[in-house]
Symmetry: C2
């Protein structure tokens, strides 16, 4: 089976969002051209990305918004609900717990963990915070698929290992550090500090360029 560029997967997510917006606006048909415009890529790119997975359009007429949206949801595994846990109930963990878009996309928050006894037992958005020691039992009981990892950097790798050992297959790592993917699990980093530093690089660079002209 052809291996899919990670950039393609990212773009599929973008196309899906655009299609959802079109669907909400009750637009029924679209084209690679239009999707490309909204996603800020080329129309070639859109068609090539879709071609990895099949043929979804009709020549001369473009794509059905509903059909393509359904197909992308199927490809991305978004037709079934995923059980999600938040690990690390600091400010970020809490902000995520009440984030309404999680449920909208069928990511169901089913549990939350922390090591702080002061937090254990409290409820956030209908979910009781458990002690991290309960991860093995709870992950298996609640069939948790994905963990949002919001613990401090130094605790991230151990937590990821424990989660994967307990059966979690996807980890969204918010800690500003690179962690090894434990056996059997995928890790996606979400590092906004890194994004800030990249911005710093580009801004500084454009200012340096200005100065030399």
């Amino acid at each position: 089976m052809a291996s899919i560029p990670t950039a393609t997967v990212s773009r599929l997510v973008t196309y899906l969002r655009i299609l959802s917006q079109l669907d909400e606006a009750e637009v029924t048909r679209t084209s690679s051209e239009h999707l490309a415009g909204e996603a800020h890529v080329s129309a070639f790119q859109v068609r090539k990305d879709l071609a990895y997975f099949g043929k979804f359009g009709t020549r001369g007429a473009g794509y059905s918004v509903q059909t393509l949206r359904q197909e992308l949801m199927r490809i991305l595994g978004l037709t079934r609900p995923w059980n999600v846990a938040i690990v690390g109930m600091g400010r970020l963990g809490e902000a995520l717990a009440v984030y309404p878009n999680l449920a909208r996309y069928d990511f169901q928050l089913t549990s939350a963990f922390d090591v702080d006894p002061a937090k254990v037992g409290r409820e956030v958005n209908g979910v009781r915070i458990r002690h991290a020691d309960e991860i093995p039992a709870a992950v298996s009981d609640l069939k948790i698929d994905i963990a949002l990892l919001t613990v401090p950097s130094e605790a991230a790798q151990d937590a990821a290992n424990a989660l994967a050992a307990a059966g979690v297959t996807g980890i969204l790592n918010f800690a500003p550090t690179v962690i090894d993917a434990p056996p059997g699990a995928y890790v996606e980093p979400v590092d906004f500090l890194a994004g800030l530093k990249r911005l710093s690089f580009y801004i500084q660079r454009s200012k340096a360029k200005e100065a030399t002209t």
Copy 2:
């Protein structure tokens, strides 16, 4: 001037973090090999990435942790402070406002904006929340370089345009939508929902593969 791959910039940020950790642990020297191990890339990659910017090591002896760290900070534009504003003081905005690592890296939170009159006037982490109407004046007065954009998707593009017009050169977009980079500004997306959907894709895919074996 050679154009730098964006992936290289991302990796430089990672190398810098590793060097900072080494420095804290009072390690004085390192090698492309070691940096590569920590960053989960090849040693070739490390050397090639650095080669875009100059020669920082001594052959046979590797790199001085302090020197390379300094150089990377210079390259990434992190030797000067950046003035940062948060635009959109919902839960995420608040979580960011109190995030201690911002200041640690010389990103100084100097202002915060929202459109909600109930929020305007309140203080968060020593910063008064202003009405979004004040953006043009405040950005210029406070010399704001970078905005953390945490408004709803539908407001993101307009806010970005307003910020850029007022003189902001870097925008970290937390809204789950693709926005155009307004003239004169760089945009970095931070979209954890997209990360979540990518995870969904990879998990679902590995499960499908298991089923066929």
